[in-house]
Amino acid sequence: MKKSHTFYIGVFVSLAYSGVASALSFETLPEPPMDLVVIDTPDDAGNSVELDWALSGTDIFNPLIENASDTDPSTIVATYSIERKVSDANGSELDESDLNWQKVSEAGAGESHWTDRTVERGWTYDYRICSVDNQGDSSTWCNGEPVTPVMQIFNMSKAWLAIFMLIFGGFIAYFINQARAGKPLWVRKIAGLEAIDEAVGRATEMGRPVLFVAGIQDINEIQTLAGLTVLSRVAKTAAEYGAQIEVPTCRSLVMAAARETVEAAYLSAGAPDAYQPDKIHYLTDEQFAFVAGVTGYMVREEPAACIYMGGFYAESLILAETGNHIGAIQVAGTAMPSQLPFFVASCDYTLIGEEFFAASAYLSGDPLQIGSLKGQDYGKFFSVLILVIGIFFASIISLSDSEDGLAVDSLNYINNNMLGSEGLGSFGGGDTDIEGDDS
């Protein structure tokens, strides 16, 4: 080979090398996300998959980047592109497209989690993720392990809830059986419920109606049902005394149910002819329009007794104060903690929370129902016991200023597993920030 040829080849090779090198050194692709972890969502029906990844090194929301402002602007991550393909359809027929990588979602910069809710139970999926910058350039792919979503038989995150319910249900069943066997059960007097007969009697003497409001919630709410059980008693007493009862409702279904309740009460009181279905009527679903209707009735007709039993919101005070102004005897019951102070301030008697739910059993005098109240009391005792144990461990931790040990593990377990959503779990496995926890 001639010397001149050797020279030209050398120049060509060096130019080609420098071209490749420069292309490599000015490559402006974003860095890929890392450590893609794909798991079947625990405690579900096998219809979702969870994806977690570590943020890209050029994602300015990545807390591991010390100087985000130094990041090359052309490589800053705009989104993460997530692709999926089916590797095993568990015997089902598949479209050709499902066997190839398909984009299923996009996550924004700074996001490191996504849940795929479009999976089929029993199929095996592969996932991969890449970062995409503002120019649309994609990084290399980060692949995850294949995953097969399966259905769990029992939602283990609610294991402790199930245990508490069984214990609580066991108490109730036990005391119902005790009552059935004839064992006398004592229940303290509830002044508010004792006052209902007095209120209806007063209305009868004055020849004025009794107003009953079963809250503003629909029939699928437990407070409305509890209200209707009290209505049953009020209607029966009114029928026996010959008093008139007025029941405006905020929901059509509540009106239908209340009519059945009142009709049956009049029937059992031996006064079916006195039942007037039009006295149980629908006003409106609108909260304040309902209040305007009821308070208008109160001011015009001046009922002698006003009974509010059910779920109430801001309208509670308007109702109770109007009743107070017309001089009616008022009894209220609700399980809305924020409305209780208003009722306490304006009504003669107030059933607070659990008293309201106990009303049905208390008023019926039925030993079976009274037994359930007794069971409820033991459930309360059990709850207080757990509270005391929690307070004991929290006090030890606070006094000793320790960050690990039996007390910390115990408190973590109570917080995360028994009262939280980590299920039965393992003792000592939690890592709750006790200082910042106010649950």
Partner: protein, 231 residues
């Protein structure tokens, strides 16, 4: 039969919702039950509307006391119904420009939108604003220092009221020693709200939760049937 069928429906629906909470396979059952309820509620709306019209028409025809209000109610009811059903003032949807009623029923500027924005919203706000006066009258009655408990309530309420305003800080500025700063109304308010108030609320909430479970069990087991009109 009239009581047995509703009882069975209540028990079955209750158990379905209970099971759906713990068994992943059944989690859709709860949603289905909720959809059934929504369908029933829509049907019942016709029942409620019919009842409303019937009662007010009876009142008008009998010219009973306050029948003028019933005329207003029926007028508003029918007017709103017409504006809503016939989509008066609603422009056709861009996708279906030739279909007269294809627009959104609450489109800005439409008749129903106008009724909502200029009648329902102000009236609702007016009712809500009246709460302030009712709070004042209720507070006046509740805070009278009749006995020890009422006096304690009055003092606590006074501290919390002042503590929520700048007066809670201003009153103690400049003269209260550093070691006594906890006596400032804003600090006392924080303590009252975080410790006794939270404790009391939680006690009530736990009682309510247990009451809900006990009532639900009574209904699910068929022990309590009073909501159906039976003792």
């Amino acid at each position: 039969m009239k009581r047995t069928v509703p009882l069975i429906i209540a028990i079955v629906a209750g158990f379905v919702l209970l099971i759906a909470n713990f068994i992943p396979f059944a989690e859709d059952w709860g949603l289905t039950a909720q959809e059934w309820f929504n369908i029933l509620a829509v049907g019942a709306m016709i029942l409620g509307g019919g009842n409303l019209v019937k009662l007010h028409l009876m009142k008008i025809s009998g010219q009973r006391k306050g029948w003028g209000y019933s005329v207003v109610t029926i007028g508003c009811f029918v007017g709103t119904l017409i504006f809503g059903l016939f989509k008066i003032g609603v422009h056709p949807n861009e996708i279906y420009p030739n279909v007269g009623w294809s627009g959104y029923y609450l489109e800005g500027g439409s008749g129903l939108w106008w009724i909502y924005q200029h009648m329902i919203v102000p009236l609702t706000s007016m009712m809500f604003a009246m709460l302030a006066f009712y709070v004042a009258t209720a507070a006046f009655r509740a805070f009278r220092a009749k006995n020890t408990e009422a006096t304690l309530l009055l003092v606590t309420a006074g501290v919390v009221l002042l503590g929520q305003t700048y007066a809670g800080v201003w009153l103690f500025e400049g003269w209260l020693p550093e070691s006594m700063q906890w006596l400032r109304f804003d600090h006392l308010t924080e303590w009252v709200m975080n410790i006794p108030n939270t404790g009391g609320t939680r006690a009530i909430t736990i009682g309510i939760a247990l009451g809900v479970v006990a009532t639900s069990l009574r209904i699910l087991l068929g022990v309590d049937r009073s909501y159906l009109g039976q003792d």
